[in-house]
Subunit: 200 residues, 2 copies
Amino acid sequence: MPKVVDHEQRRRECEDALWRVVSRDGASAVSVRSVAAEAGMSPTNLTHYFSTRAELLGAVVRRHVASVRAAAGEIGPEGVTVEQAIRMLMAVIPTTPIRRRQSEIWLLLVHERQSSDVADGLLRSVQRLVQQEVVAGLEGLRRAGFLGAGRRIEDEALLLHALIDGLSVQSLSDPRAMNRARVRRLVTQHIEQLTRPLQA
Amino acid sequence: MPKVVDHEQRRRECEDALWRVVSRDGASAVSVRSVAAEAGMSPTNLTHYFSTRAELLGAVVRRHVASVRAAAGEIGPEGVTVEQAIRMLMAVIPTTPIRRRQSEIWLLLVHERQSSDVADGLLRSVQRLVQQEVVAGLEGLRRAGFLGAGRRIEDEALLLHALIDGLSVQSLSDPRAMNRARVRRLVTQHIEQLTRPLQA
């Protein structure tokens, strides 16, 4: 009887192995060799599903973005309350050991972008997605009546996105100082400012 | 006649070579071997002045911090105007190709901190210095009468520091989108907010 391989199933196994490597050892540990070993298959076999390290990194990025989106939750037509906005930001900024591990993929891409077009492309797509989510969140705040008068979404989105990236890199670089409680306090402070009118 | 070596002079030559490597090739290119080649000496000879890559990175960090401080200028007893605050922030956030190269040292340290106590220590000292400068800048704004009523320096310093780090990482990751003009606009917007009272 011929051996039947369920390729979808195998691909999922590879992705799970990849995700375990990232969550345990960080993004720099990702390679065709390390993921194959984790999946219990030969590197040659793995390359049927992911032929290069760049493809592996792309899969990590997609899964990370999907998991952050799921954690942040959907924005309904009724908009976003202040508490929801804070919860969404807390889902995006890494403040637990495993989220920090997963977020290293982002810093790895920044690090590699000058020598790798693939890294550069992945990085831009991550930043574009975050920017879209931030704009959607601010539009949600406005729909729910929580965005202060005179505030322009375009400007506030760029500032908020920079704040997210800054708190993320600080949480990665000094987890004890920039811990979950402090991130929450700063995020709350910023969102509460956004509810107030912008005085000219 | 015995050969007289001016060790201070040689050390300065090593530091200059180190700085050329960073400014031209980025922080990841720093190694005892690459800096020795740039200085036109043997690796063994270089190790009389810098015995490990970690010591080289430490020297890069000190020089980078010193050059940023010099560019930001002194804060006098009369305090800091809004325009001065903006200029200081523009000196800290990398927005030119050479400043971006030099700032890669920071991301490299974040990247390496988990596997290197030296990188972790250097990173903390950089973050502490930036934090001190930010606090000094905000105190200067207050002395000159430009900090809005009700604003607590401790809180505003943490938010401003996160904003600096976020704009820096975005400038490194997408220099065309986060260009000098956009950084200036966002920094100006944030500082102008700081001049307004914090409404309870």
